[in-house]
Symmetry: C2
Subunit: 305 residues, 2 copies
């Protein structure tokens, strides 16, 4: 087994993931929990990190590179934002050291788009992006990182020129739980997914984005008039949101860009199905692989030996 080189941490709002990385880039240990920023802000960031370092038996001297919400204003140490347009490699240079630690702990900055009409921010996804494309990518790239607040980033020859957050995941939850459609989707989780209803909703929303909030309502009226199932209603809501997101993102980046999907699990399946429904080509990169790749690039830039 290789000697450990550094510790990589992806510290989100509601989740914590840590990997012990070897000098040959192998994963020597891993520890995950739901001690995201929200929890750690109460229990202590240093204490949460220490408990996970102990679980993977990280040597006392080993440095730690962190990305995500730990660098937010409400996080551990504010790591600020790098303003776009920004080169992917500039992310590597903005890491902020956490003072008063027995080992070298650094938090990577986020990205900010200080546009008057389309202001936007990200924390954590910039590191996934770096890992997905590498610091010296070429050509026109559209990178989709789905989630609670999906991020679409436009990169031209390694320069991040702009990005947009879409509230897709959070709206899916709010609509499914806190509107009249909660009745329409009741029991959907116990049924097989309705892939045809999903693909059809993706296409409708992509072709007619202005009808989005009407298409949501058809999850209910479709049950009243056409016997739509709960799984079908759920598929219509998620398909409408994802079709709307893709329409908005491609209106920004143009359909000529290479689309890279950075995702895993259920979201990967949904977005791949949506791209297929729209006959859009794409390349998928695993989200964990991407974030570890970005953290590795940062670790190597900061601690070259």
């Amino acid at each position: 087994m290789a000697d450990p080189a550094y510790v990589a941490v992806d510290w989100g709002t509601s989740s914590f993931r840590l990997w012990l990385i070897g000098k040959d880039n192998s994963i020597l240990g891993e520890s995950r929990s739901n001690e995201g920023m929200t929890t750690a802000a109460k229990t202590g960031f240093a204490e949460v990190l220490a408990s996970h370092l102990e679980k993977v038996n990280a040597p006392a001297h080993l440095p730690v590179i962190v990305c995500g919400m730990a660098g937010a204003k409400q996080g551990w140490v504010e790591a600020g934002y790098i303003d776009v347009p920004a080169s992917l490699s500039s992310i590597l240079t903005g890491a902020v050291p956490v003072p008063g630690q027995s080992r070298d702990v650094r938090i990577l900055p986020g990205l900010a788009q200080r546009d008057e009409t389309r202001p936007d921010v990200m924390r954590g996804e910039e590191t996934q992006l770096l890992g997905a494309l590498g610091p010296a990518s070429t050509g026109s790239q559209a990178v989709c990182m789905p989630g609670t607040h999906s991020k679409w980033v436009h990169v031209e020859d390694g320069l991040v020129t702009g990005f947009s957050s879409f509230m897709t995941g959070e709206l899916f939850d709010a609509i499914s739980k806190h509107t009249i459609l909660s009745h329409a989707v009741a029991g959907a989780e116990q049924a097989p997914s309705d892939d045809a209803a999903f693909a059809s909703a993706v296409r409708q929303a992509y072709d007619h984005p202005a009808l989005a909030t009407n298409l949501f309502f058809t999850a209910r009226s479709g049950q009243l008039l056409h016997g739509l199932t709960a799984a079908g209603a759920q598929a219509r809501i998620s398909g409408t949101l994802i079709g709307l997101e893709i329409a908005g993102a491609l209106a920004d980046t143009g359909t000529g860009a290479n689309v890279t999907l950075v995702a895993a699990g259920r979201l990967q399946g949904l977005y791949e199905a949506a791209f297929r429904a729209l006959s859009l080509s794409y390349t998928t990169i695993d989200a964990d692989v991407a974030v570890r790749g970005g953290l590795a690039a940062a670790a190597k830039a900061i601690w070259p030996n």
Copy 2:
């Protein structure tokens, strides 16, 4: 004071409104409560109606005409739907009598659009529509009835050719209360409204509907990067939803139709501001006047003397 002619009732999901109407069409008495369908389904529809009839001293023989959710499957007596395309006057002929009552009580039907891809239903708004346009309207009309589920109806020479529900009001509540934007809007109700932020969001969403869920997110990023206020964030959410709704509705009906807004109070102000922001002309009809007008037309058709 004129003799009473009939009782008019608008029985919604969460509200009950009753008027005692005179032979000269004057309002002789009025009674309102929150005993909508949801409440009355538990406490009894007949009992709720009787208590309000007593409040306005309605004579024992006086007939009652009802519109709204009292005619839904989960309501008092199911009044069914009339399928579109349908003439406005056909609504007058579909009233269903409530059996076993000591007086003549009739519930008006709703409208259904049994379209495969855009199924839709309404109950109550068809009566507002009848009152707003009259049974024999001419020309191409787009009628906007904003609310929890805003309805836009397209009428051609008195024929309802199609309609769409937009979940604008309910999404505003769900987004403001059950997403990360709840922090962004906290305290907005105590501040003056931000009319400029509202108008700007209406225009952005109307021009770029595919960006809707991104525009919501700018309520948060605008606070992080530009010091947007809580009132500004709230205005961006409601402006985005209303701009999106208008874009979707006019994509259906075309911008050549006369737009009639049937509304009152706060919603009337918001929609009028949105139409002005988009330089769209419109005519406003008070929602209460409209629903009483529709109920009056039905009462006169059913009980001509």
